[in-house]
C-alpha cells in the first residue's frame, strides 16, 4: 500500500465538562466549519464522510441518522463507524487509498454530559450471564487489570498517580482542556477508593466536544495545503470483549494495533523514531501499560520512567502534553480525536504554550474503554513515508 494520505484540515471545539448552550448539532457544526475553513474546502468538494458514534452514548437507537446535516453531508456517501475516532480515521484513509474519494472527512463527537447513567451504560456492554449478575462496578474490570499489571511489572500506585499529576497539570496550560488542575501526589493516592487499587482521581472524568478532520490524497494534499500532516501508519486491533480469555497484565490489543501502524510507517525502532505521543489514559495505569505495549519503552519500565520525568513536556519523551483524557476529559468515541487533534497541532507548531520544540513525528493511540480490548494507533508526521 504505497498511496500517501494527509490530514489537510482540522477543526475542534473546546472540550468542556458540559456544554449546555449547544446541542450535538451545533457542536459538530462548529468543529466542521473550522475544519473546512482550515482545509480550504467546501462540503460539496468532499467525496465521503465517516462519522464515529455509539447509539447509547448519543441516546438514539439509530444514532447514525443524525450524522449528515451538521457535516454538510446530505445526499453524500457517509457512514458511521461505531468505534474510536482513530478507527474512523483508518476507514477514511481506506476510502482515499481505494480511490473512492480524493477528500474524506472524519467526525467525532462527545455529548457525554447528556448521558446521565454512565455506569449503567458500561455495565450494559458486559456479559449478561458471566458478569452482570454480580452487580459490580464496571470500573472493577479496570481495577483488576491495574492490579495484574502492577503485579506483573512491579509498577506502583504512586507511579500511576504521577501520571494523573502530570496530565492534569499539562491540561492547565491547554486552553482546550476541560480538567486542568495542580494536584499533589497525595491528592490522588488518598482520593476515594473506587475499585482499589483504582481511586477516584485515577479515573478520567468526562467531557463534551467535537473534532473534525479533513483527509486528502497526495495530489489534493499538496494543492490544498501548505502544511499537510501525513498519516504514515495506522492500525487497530481487538482482542476480545470476553473477560475470561483476554490478557490482564498487558495491553495486547495496543501492541497489535501498533505493530500494524509501525509496519505501514516503516518504523523499526518506535522509541527513537517517534518524538512524542498522545496516549489513552482513561485510567492512570493505562498510560503506562499503553506506553509499554506501544514499544515506546521496555515492559516494566514505564512507571519508573514516569518518576524520572521522562514523559513530562520537558522530558525525553513527552506523553500527553495536552493533558490526555485525565486532563482534557474522557469523551468516549472522541478520545482518539482529541489525541489526533493535539498531535496535529504539535506537528504544525500550533500548540500554543504547550508547544514542543522540534517535533516531526507524533503518535496518537486510543483505547475504547471498559469493557473493551480495542485499540487504535496512528503515526502522524510532517514528512510522508
Amino acid at each position: 500500500m504505497d498511496k500517501k494520505v494527509a490530514v489537510v484540515g482540522v477543526g475542534a471545539t473546546a472540550f468542556r465538562a458540559s456544554t449546555p448552550d449547544v446541542s450535538y448539532r451545533e457542536l459538530t457544526y462548529e468543529a466542521a466549519t473550522k475544519a473546512y475553513l482550515d482545509a480550504g474546502v467546501e462540503p460539496k468538494e468532499i467525496g465521503a464522510f465517516v462519522a464515529t458514534s455509539e447509539d447509547f452514548v448519543e441516546g438514539y437507537s439509530i444514532s447514525d441518522e443524525y450524522s449528515p446535516d451538521q457535516l454538510g453531508a446530505v445526499l453524500k456517501p457517509i457512514h458511521t463507524v461505531p468505534g474510536d475516532f482513530i478507527q474512523g480515521l483508518g476507514n477514511a484513509m481506506m476510502l482515499v487509498t481505494s480511490g473512492f474519494a480524493d477528500i474524506v472527512v472524519v467526525q467525532g463527537l462527545s455529548k457525554a454530559s447528556n448521558m446521565l447513567t454512565k455506569s449503567d451504560l458500561l455495565t450494559f456492554a458486559t456479559d449478561p450471564f458471566n458478569w452482570r449478575p454480580l452487580l459490580e462496578s464496571p470500573h472493577a474490570i479496570a481495577g483488576m487489570e491495574m492490579a495484574r499489571f502492577m503485579h506483573e511489572t512491579g509498577t506502583t500506585r504512586e507511579q500511576c498517580a504521577r501520571v494523573v499529576v502530570k496530565n492534569r497539570l499539562n491540561a492547565l496550560s491547554n486552553p482546550r482542556a476541560a480538567l486542568g488542575a495542580a494536584l499533589e501526589l497525595d491528592d490522588v493516592l488518598h482520593s476515594a477508593p473506587v475499585a482499589y487499587p483504582l481511586s477516584e482521581l485515577d479515573i478520567a472524568q468526562h467531557a463534551d466536544g467535537a473534532v473534525v478532520c479533513v483527509l486528502a490524497n497526495e495530489d489534493k494534499a499538496r494543492s490544498l495545503c501548505k502544511q499537510p500532516i501525513w498519516i504514515r501508519g495506522i492500525g487497530w486491533s481487538t482482542e476480545t470483549n470476553a473477560l475470561d480469555n483476554r490478557s490482564w497484565g498487558e495491553a495486547a490489543y495496543m501492541r497489535r494495533a501498533a505493530d500494524t501502524a509501525y509496519r505501514m510507517a516503516g518504523i523499526l525502532s518506535p522509541a527513537a523514531e517517534v518524538d512524542f505521543a498522545e496516549i489513552s489514559d482513561e485510567y492512570s495505569y493505562k498510560e503506562l501499560s499503553h506506553l509499554e505495549a506501544l514499544s515506546l519503552c521496555p515492559r516494566g519500565s514505564a512507571g519508573k520512567l514516569t518518576e524520572t520525568g521522562w514523559s513530562q513536556p520537558t522530558g525525553e519523551f513527552p506523553v500527553n502534553v495536552s493533558g490526555g483524557c485525565l486532563g482534557s476529559g474522557h469523551m468516549f468515541e472522541l478520545d482518539g480525536g482529541q489525541k489526533v487533534l493535539e498531535c496535529l497541532l504539535q506537528l504544525r507548531g500550533q500548540a500554543g504554550s504547550n508547544q514542543l520544540a522540534d517535533v516531526h513525528t507524533g503518535l496518537a493511540a486510543a483505547w475504547r474503554g471498559v469493557p473493551t480490548t480495542t485499540g487504535a494507533v496512528v503515526v502522524l508526521s510532517d514528512q510522508p513515508r
Binding site: 500500500m1 504505497d2 498511496k3 455509539e54 447509539d55 447509547f56 441516546g59 438514539y60 437507537s61 439509530i62 447514525d64 441518522e65 443524525y66 450524522s67 449528515p68 446535516d69 453531508a73 446530505v74 445526499l75 453524500k76 456517501p77 457517509i78 457512514h79 458511521t80 463507524v81 461505531p82 468505534g83 478507527q87 483508518g90 476507514n91 484513509m93 481506506m94 476510502l95 487509498t97 481505494s98 480511490g99 473512492f100 451504560l121 458500561l122 450494559f124 456492554a125 449478561p128 492500525g235 487497530w236 486491533s237 481487538t238 482482542e239 476480545t240 470483549n241 470476553a242 495486547a252 490489543y253 497489535r256 494495533a257 500494524t260 505501514m264 475504547r368 469493557p371 473493551t372 480495542t374
Partner: protein
C-alpha cells in the same frame, strides 16, 4: 479511475428464526464458519474483520460490535464495525470492499448479525427512539407509522393500489419456499394480504417482514487471493451509498433520492450506462411490500411510477426478464436487519455462481445488484456484482 479488484469468494448463512437459542456470538460463528468452509479458508488467512449489526438496542449490548468480535473471527485481529441503520447489511459488503480495495488488507471476513429476540417481548422501544428525541418522540411514534406514511405518499403520487402492491408479498413469500433458511415462505394470495390484520393503514400484517434472528457472512479477497481460492470469484464492480437529511418530514417521501444517488455512484463505478438492461437480477430491500417497488424506481430499474406495471407483467418473477428478490427477500426469508441485507448480497453471489439451487434464475445471469435502505427513510446502500 482504476480500482483494485475485489471479489466475494465465500458465503455462509444461518437459518432465520423468530427466537434463536444461540447467542449473538454463536450465530455469527455459524455463519462465519460456513463462509470460511465454503472457500476452504481458515481464520489465519483472514486479515481483518468487518462487522455489521444494526441498533445495539436489538441484541441488547452497548458496544455490540465489540461483543460480536470474537464469534466473528475477530480475536486479535483488526475489527471495525460499520453502521447505517437498516442499510447496514449491504453497507457491510461495501465496508468489506473498502478494506480490500484500500490495499491495506488482502482478505476481509464480513459478518452481519442481528438477534432481535433479545429485546423482549418486542423491540418497540428501539423503534420509538429512532425519532428525534425532542421534536418527534413526544407524540409516541412507532416504526410502522413512518412506513405507512411513506407508502401512502408513494401510492398517492403514482395512483398505485394496495391490491397491486400486495403482489410483492405473494411473489416473495412464494420465492422463499425454496430458501432453506427462510422463516416465512408461504403460498399466499392477494386476498390473504388484504385481509390480514391492519397494522397502520395502508400497511397490513402481510405487507410487513417479520422480526428475526440470524447471521450471514461473506469472505472478500483481493484478485490474487481470489484466483487462488476459487474458480468462480464474484467481483464487486460497483459500490455506492448515501444518506439524506435527518429532517425526514421536509422531503417528499414518494421517491427515494438517497437510493438514486447511491445507485448512480455504483453504476458509474461499474461502468453501467443502462441499468435496466445491464442488470440481470436484483435484490432490492423489501422490509415492506411497497419498498421493493419504491426502491426499484430509485435504482432506475423501473421508471418512476412504472414499478407496479413491471410487477403485474411478471417481469420481476424468478423467470421474468428482471428477477427481483428471487431469494424471497425480507418478506419471505426474514428480517434480522443487518443480516437480511447481507443475505441479499449472498443471494446475488450464489445466483451468479449458479449455486442457488431451486431458487436459481434461468439464463446464466452475469450481473446482479443488491440494495438496502435504512434510518429515517434516509439511507441507500447499493452493490453491483459480476462474474
Amino acid at each position: 479511475m482504476g480500482y483494485r479488484r475485489v471479489a466475494v469468494v465465500g458465503a455462509g448463512i444461518t437459518k432465520f428464526t423468530r427466537f434463536a437459542k444461540e447467542t449473538n456470538g454463536e450465530l455469527s460463528y455459524e455463519a462465519a464458519r460456513m463462509a470460511l468452509d465454503s472457500c476452504e479458508m481458515n481464520l489465519s488467512q483472514i486479515d481483518c474483520v468487518s462487522i455489521g449489526t444494526a441498533p445495539d438496542a436489538f441484541d441488547g449490548f452497548h458496544l455490540n460490535g465489540e461483543t460480536l468480535a470474537e464469534g466473528s473471527g475477530g480475536f486479535n485481529k483488526p475489527v471495525m464495525r460499520n453502521y447505517v441503520g437498516g442499510g447496514t447489511g449491504v453497507m457491510s459488503a461495501i465496508h468489506g470492499w473498502q478494506h480490500v480495495a484500500s490495499g491495506m488488507f488482502d482478505t476481509c471476513l464480513v459478518i452481519a448479525e442481528e438477534k432481535m429476540s433479545s429485546a423482549f417481548p418486542h423491540p418497540a422501544g428501539a423503534f420509538l427512539t429512532i425519532f428525534d428525541h425532542t421534536t418527534e418522540q413526544p407524540v409516541m411514534p412507532t416504526l410502522l407509522w413512518i412506513f405507512a406514511i411513506e407508502m401512502q405518499r408513494f401510492m398517492h403520487a403514482h395512483g398505485y393500489t394496495k391490491e397491486d402492491i400486495a403482489k410483492v408479498a405473494v411473489k416473495n413469500k412464494r420465492n422463499a419456499l425454496d430458501h432453506p433458511c427462510a422463516q416465512l415462505g408461504a403460498e399466499i394470495t392477494v386476498d390473504d394480504v388484504l385481509n390480514s390484520e391492519i397494522m397502520a393503514h395502508p400497511v397490513n400484517r402481510l405487507d410487513v417482514s417479520p422480526t428475526s434472528d440470524g447471521a450471514v457472512a461473506l469472505v472478500f479477497a483481493a484478485e490474487h487471493v481470489a484466483r487462488r481460492v476459487t474458480e468462480k470469484p464474484v467481483w464487486m464492480d460497483g459500490v455506492g451509498w448515501a444518506l439524506d437529511t435527518a429532517y425526514w418530514c421536509t422531503r417528499d417521501l414518494y421517491y427515494p433520492d438517497y437510493v438514486e444517488v447511491a445507485a448512480k455512484k455504483a453504476y458509474e463505478m461499474a461502468g453501467i450506462k443502462e441499468p435496466a438492461k445491464e442488470i440481470h437480477i436484483a435484490e432490492p430491500y423489501d422490509p415492506f411490500t411497497y419498498k421493493e417497488l419504491h426502491h426499484l424506481e430509485g435504482l432506475q430499474l423501473a421508471p418512476r411510477g412504472g414499478s407496479v406495471q413491471m410487477l403485474l407483467d411478471g417481469v420481476t418473477q424468478r423467470d421474468g426478464n428482471l428477477p427481483v428478490c428471487p431469494s424471497g427477500g425480507l418478506l419471505g426469508v426474514g428480517n434480522p436487519i443487518a443480516a437480511a441485507g447481507l443475505m441479499k448480497v449472498a443471494e446475488i453471489f450464489w445466483q451468479l455462481r449458479g449455486e442457488a439451487g431451486k431458487r436459481q434464475v434461468p439464463g446464466n445471469p452475469t450481473c446482479g445488484l443488491a440494495q438496502a435502505w435504512g434510518d429515517l427513510m434516509q439511507v441507500g446502500t447499493v452493490v453491483v456484482m459480476r462474474t
